[in-house]
Symmetry: C2
């Protein structure tokens, strides 16, 4: 039996393009003589479709698309994923299903049993878990077909009380197929390989695994579909961050063979390399899928906006990036020069819009209210917000999307101005700590200087008052970031972090700052997710809560 794995970039709710893409890959696989082509979980509607799933009409469109797809399966079978109506009157209205289509008909339906409902996942919001399990017979093979999380109930930390493969194995399958929607984070590919390899070894069956690639707003799927032999050895790996179709044979029972040169990575990429690829794809898909071409951003001369500008230039082409320098009376000369050097290195468009007259107009207009009260955060924020108004006006006039340039460290501690530098359609590095931003800058400069050296080496500053430095208000980033990681990614308490050797008052102050900034983060743009715990839909915190704050 010849099996094709199709790792594609879908678009949530875009039935027209998803269906066309699936059908064209069915034809392609058929031409290559494949017996079966496998697509990813919920590929028909895209993942995550979120509350679109609550519309009967939307579910009807999924079924309609599935029928169109089935009609194209002439001399080839296929597996697709889609939401279906739960026929049991008890429980949730839907199932997260896989259709096995043969001879233009749906021959078998498999429903997902383990529904992830943590971090960014909300599957129990929509779906009823399956409690029945059955293998699929096809061309002399018996397939144990499961859906993503179904294989993820690990022995070490079992999140569920059932394990679907323990049921399916009793029917004596000779191959496992798993269709998935497993989003990227910089340490997730390793985890995925380990868990799937464990499954192959435990059940002594070859395993073919198909993932999504492409970004859906903040969620980035990295592809990297996987093929294991029955000893748990990784036989092949589809490319990361790229659409791909690949073919395998399953002649001799329980033995998988490649039918093309392997695309298995010769080495695991470093975190920063992977983050770089993920962010470029995230920007590309955000613009492409929302029908926009051009980005705008404010360039301060600092490292955050420089890195975002370089990523945007790579994702969209420098001709589609407008960098705006918005100097105030506190901007240093080197800031302007550093920003201009960057623009030159990248070849993107730029404008200089000094905001001095604007901030003066705010200050003189507010003089009757502010009298002679001393300059403070109010005037600092007026500068940041004036810049946002200018950038948004240019968006409205010329059709750009504004890129947000906040990093994760400042988003964490609330070191940013709401409706000022916290604006934007999408946050590019809001899941990248400041220390990682420096690494990213060095990585971007790996072949030639793109980010000016001075931007990298000078002390970070918001330049909203004379001689301001980030370290006036915050610990050094190499202290701050590890504390934040322990609190945010690892959910350690202050006591546990202090025991690790960090200064007690610093830890308490940092955790308090994080919890007090929840109201600001609530109103920030969606953040491209590259870590196992990003701000946004995967981290849901009370705003008026009183814990550590």
């Amino acid at each position: 039996m010849k099996i094709a794995l199709a790792q594609l970039n879908y678009h949530v709710g875009n039935f027209e393009s998803n269906t066309a893409k699936i059908i064209s890959h069915i034809h392609q696989a058929e031409e290559q003589g494949a017996d079966l082509v496998v697509f990813a979980e919920l590929c028909v509607c895209g993942y995550p479709s979120r509350d679109f799933l609550e519309f009967r009409e939307f579910i009807g469109l999924c079924e309609e698309a599935a029928q169109k797809i089935a009609a194209e399966c002439r001399n080839i079978a296929c597996i697709i994923g889609l939401p279906t109506v739960n026929n049991n009157p008890e429980g949730k209205d839907l199932n997260n299903s896989a259709y096995f289509i043969e001879n233009r008909e749906v021959k078998a339906i498999v429903n997902k049993a383990l529904l992830p409902n943590y971090d960014i996942f909300d599957e129990y919001r929509y779906f009823e878990p399956s409690t029945t399990f059955k293998c699929i017979d096809f061309k002399g093979h018996r397939i144990a077909l499961t859906i993503c999380e179904d294989l993820w109930n690990t022995l070490e930390n079992p999140l569920y009380v059932t394990r679907p493969m323990d049921e399916l194995i009793t029917e004596g399958p000779d191959v496992m197929i798993n269709i998935a929607a497993s989003p990227f984070s910089y340490n997730h590919d390793e985890e995925r390989i380990d868990i799937l390899s464990d499954n192959a070894r435990r059940y002594q069956l070859p395993l073919l695994y198909v993932n999504h690639i492409g970004a859906q707003t903040e969620l980035i799927f990295d592809g990297g579909s996987l093929i294991f032999d029955k000893t748990g050895e990784l036989v092949d790996e589809l490319p990361y961050f790229k659409e791909s179709i690949a073919y395998y044979s399953l002649e001799d029972k329980s033995d998988v063979k490649l039918l093309q040169p392997s695309t298995k990575r010769t080495r695991k990429e470093g975190d920063i390399e992977q983050i770089h690829r993920a962010l470029v794809l995230g920007i590309q898909d955000y613009f492409y899928k929302s029908g926009f071409k051009s980005a705008i951003l404010g360039l301060s001369g600092g490292i955050d906006s420089a890195v975002v500008c370089a990523l945007a230039a790579e994702a969209l082409g420098p001709q589609n990036v407008m960098a705006v320098l918005l100097p105030s009376r506190f901007s240093s000369d080197h800031s302007i020069k550093d920003a201009e050097d960057l623009v030159k290195n990248l070849g993107c468009k730029h404008e200089i819009v000094p905001i001095r007259h604007i901030t003066e107009a705010f200050e003189s207009t507010l003089q009757p209210q502010f009298h002679n009260l001393p300059f403070n955060i109010a005037e600092e924020n007026i500068q940041s917000r004036s810049r946002a108004v200018v950038l948004m006006a240019m968006c409205n006039k010329f059709g750009y999307i504004l890129l947000n340039t906040s990093n994760k460290s400042e988003a964490a501690v609330g070191y940013g101005t709401l409706y000022g530098d916290m604006c934007g359609g999408i946050s590019v590095i809001g899941d990248v700590y400041k220390t990682q931003v420096f690494e990213l800058a060095r990585y971007l400069n790996r072949e030639r200087e793109i980010i000016p050296e001075n931007t990298i080496v000078k002390p970070p500053s918001a330049e909203l008052r004379p001689n301001q430095k980030d370290t006036d208000s915050l610990p050094e980033y190499d202290i701050l970031d590890p504390i934040l990681t322990q609190y945010i990614e690892n959910r350690c308490s202050s006591g546990e972090i202090i025991k690790m050797g960090y200064d007690e008052s610093t830890v308490r102050r940092v955790l308090r700052l994080v919890n007090l900034a929840e109201h600001k983060r609530y109103q920030t743009p969606p953040i491209l997710r590259v870590s196992p715990k990003a701000f946004g839909m995967g981290r849901r915190m009370p705003i008026v809560g009183k814990y550590l704050s």
Copy 2:
């Protein structure tokens, strides 16, 4: 047996105040000779504690608080709700539990079996559902204790495959107690009474039900704890939107008697009356629980900001409300007069800050980029955003929280300026359609004119260009709002709405506008929830999705 029901206002994560409040009501009930005092679901930590629940330290603090509470139960038993560690290594880490405390010890633990995971609820994110059921024997009575949703698996639309009371009834209980966290929406009190009454009648047992009151950011709990006899007759109802403790006797098995005058409502309040009470409580608790006293808002002379100003004055006292008039060159004379009349009627503070110099500074600064391109949405939004910068500067200078004044109709169709009039710490009427805002204005004027008549009768306008009217861009609100209700609250498709008799092109246009505005709503403040489907955590939509858009 004498039972006290304590309906209290908790604060998420504030163990100190929640514990003190619970203990003081234990003492009070003990002094009144009660045998048992019942508190609400998850009262120890507040509801919803959301991802605070993922911190082991937080769960430890819950247990610590429970032990402090237990130590106070000398001659009285109590029921409290808290998260506890799931001792089964399989499944989620926590249970949503009730402790039955007697003689200073936890005598029984009941875990919730039906975990709501829809709309604003995410309980399956944290908790493992219980699969075992046991009654509690106390002073000759056998109590069937359940937690909120456990009684909500209705016969008509069973969301779950089990029904806890069907198990508990086999042990022959003589009373049901249900502790709950059931948030307000304008039609929810009726539904609650129906479902609980059905339970009392079906199992032929009296039922005592204790709810939260008070707001946690956007979620408002209305109290209205309920007592039914075994025929399903409503015996008593605790006050709505108010803390309260009440006493009942259960002498003769299966008969509940009041021990004080009934507070049962003589008539159901209308939607608008209820919404009014909910919004006032929502504002109060947002400010009180975040440690702020004073609000600021922009007054346009229009009905939305007028209604929000009146609600804020009622919630915080007029002396704690700063109303700011921010006329531009397009503001009409009547707008200023109407706003000044409102301020006079309410007795709140006000300032006039004309924004002309500011918008001129933006326009002249941007002249090199905009050249002589015609006035359009860019310049309109500059006005709205300039106002936001002024208001936020006053917040930063004087410590106000900005109130957002967008209504649900405009939030739905994206008729508002991101980082402009869409700013604020909390959105007061973002879940109130424009037609309801008019009703609310009439209701606020029920005793004397507060909202100026001219504000109510003039055609709505954003006044961002000469002679602008809302109806230039949108259908009349009495067409728009019913279409939005069908789409948002009832999740009807365009086809279904058109079949109801609405104009096809209007329906398609409105639904498209709603879906296209998702990126704007993502960045709006939390919205006080008063309907069964509010924007925010209860409605989770893709942003780059392509459905109806």
